[in-house]
Amino acid sequence: MLKVTIGQYYPAQSFIHRLDPRMKLLCTMLFIVFLFFVNNFLGYAMAFVLLATVIKVSKVPPKFLLRGLRAIIFIIIFTAILNIFFTAGETIVFEWRWMRISQEGLLNAARMALRLTMLIIGSSILTLTTTPIQLTDAIESALKPLKKIRVPAHEIAMMMTIALRFIPTLIEEMDKIMKAQMARGADFDTGGIIKKARSLVPLLVPLFISAFRRAEDLALAMESRCYRGDIGRTRMKQMRYALRDLAAFIIILSFIAGIFVLNHVAAVYGIW
């Protein structure tokens, strides 16, 4: 059976889990934006301390977070290598034929790697401590101001909900089609990457046809249950801000203010 890890949720009772999803989304965005303002290692250290504290409070085992990193380790290494070789710098550390590695390049590579790692960890904390439904609700309310310029906030959120709902159904179906094809002699395991990719075609075609049929059925079912977009719609579960959300917001804001001060100090005194 195939395993799904998209939007994985780690169920636990913690301060972070109980935070309003909108606040979590906002704090994560702020954290990510400001990661890109930091350009000194003292700042990264501070960001790391904050992340570590949040992880500790959230009760998510660090093992879980690292598992998420494994999938993108290639991207991190790739970016780092690009930065090492393609940053023009004055202090040359190493030179051989066309290769030229500068001190600036090494620093840049380290910065990018740290940024990406913390960015991924930060956003995984959001998805690990928020149920998919809460997350879509938060996204809907975050996009609400954009409704004025005709961004279909409600529709985007509804599509996300339906996509999440159908992931297990479609995976189950894929599994069935795969077994049916294997029973008739299809081979998915041997051969090179091209042969393997080609063997997926007879899998994807029936899967897509069935997905379209499901979409049609679902549209009919939604319509017969009076769905007409978000006109006059209410929600059973309403989101309410609590005191803890304010507390979380203040912590993040003071952290960001701290980084700004540090950035300034670093610039003035020339610390990297």
Binding site: R165, R213, S224, R225, C226, Y227, R228, G232, M236, K237
Partner: protein
């Protein structure tokens, strides 16, 4: 007598998509010829009635069901629900609130990732206040016996359980009529029993009008009235006892009869004195006991 659903000379014409892939030779000339899925249906369903609509594939029974909920509009003729014409654009949402539909595939009608959120979907669309939705969702789940699964994701439920969730989702909208469009066709025998039990209970205890579309004779035998549809027309209509005693007519349009009715029919032909209108196994057993004791 006031009818809650009424159809008069209902005709629905549709143009079949060219099916050159499936039936290649000689059929190409037929592609695009309009077909009459419904050809003059006249029917009245009373409040609180349990009506089964029988018919084989392509008989038009599902097309009829979709007219009750304004999912389809008649080509000609009229359909009224609660005295309101379904052709009126303004009242479509009122009709859809009072007519709930349960479809065939349990997987394709559940919208949310959590059972209770799915049940809340209908009332949310109606703009009901959150506290009232909460109350309705809890009640609806209790009625169909799914309260303990309220917080579960739907994909771990059995087919029968999923259909019960779908029924709960409709109950939470407080409908007068529930239309089940072959809702048991994809279920195993246990799932069918579960759904049938819930539907029976809703009809008897809550007084909800049921339109039950099926091709299982044994399910139709439990209804107050059976309507048999073939080629877009109503061919036989009456109580299960009346309908299922017309065994030859049913067989002529390619339908089976409930097993009990068929056994009774054959026994009668062999000279055993059984009354007309035996359609359920329990009734057959009672009548046979009477015969043996004589």
């Amino acid at each position: 007598m006031e009818f809650i659903v009424k159809a008069e000379n209902l005709v629905y014409k549709y143009v079949a998509p060219s099916s050159s892939d499936e039936n290649s030779a000689g059929d190409t000339t037929d592609a695009g010829v309009p077909l009459l899925a419904l050809n003059g249906i006249n029917v009245g369903i009373k409040k609180g009635e349990f009506v089964a609509v029988l018919g084989h594939n392509g008989s038009g029974k599902s097309t009829f069901a979709k007219h009750i909920n304004c999912l389809l509009q008649p080509t000609s003729g009229m359909v009224w629900v609660n005295g309101i014409s379904t052709a009126d654009e303004e009242t479509i949402w009122d009709i859809r609130q009072s007519v709930g539909m349960v479809f065939q595939n349990p997987d394709n009608q559940i919208i949310a990732t959590i059972v209770e959120e799915d049940v809340a979907f209908g009332p949310e669309n109606l703009g009901i206040p959150p506290s009232e939705i909460r109350k309705r969702v809890d009640e609806a789940l209790a009625t169909v016996g799914m309260s303990e699964f309220a917080g579960n994701p739907p994909h771990h439920l059995s087919g029968g359980q999923k259909q019960r969730v779908a029924i709960a989702g409709i109950l939470a909208m407080r409908p007068d009529i529930i239309v089940l469009d072959e809702s048991t066709a994809m279920l195993d025998p246990n799932g069918r029993k579960e759904v049938m039990k819930v539907v029976k209970q809703l009809n008897e205890e809550e007084g909800i009008t049921i339109v039950f579309i099926t091709h299982y004779m044994d399910e139709a035998a439990l209804a107050d009235r059976v309507i048999v549809v073939a080629d877009g027309k109503i061919v036989i209509e009456g109580t299960p006892a009346e309908v299922f005693s017309q065994i030859d007519e049913l067989k002529a349009i390619g339908l089976d009869v409930p097993q009990a009715a068929e056994i009774a029919h054959k026994l009668r032909n062999h000279g055993i004195n059984l009354p007309q209108g035996v359609v359920t196994p329990q009734h057959l057993v009672e009548e046979l006991e009477k015969c043996l004791l004589k």
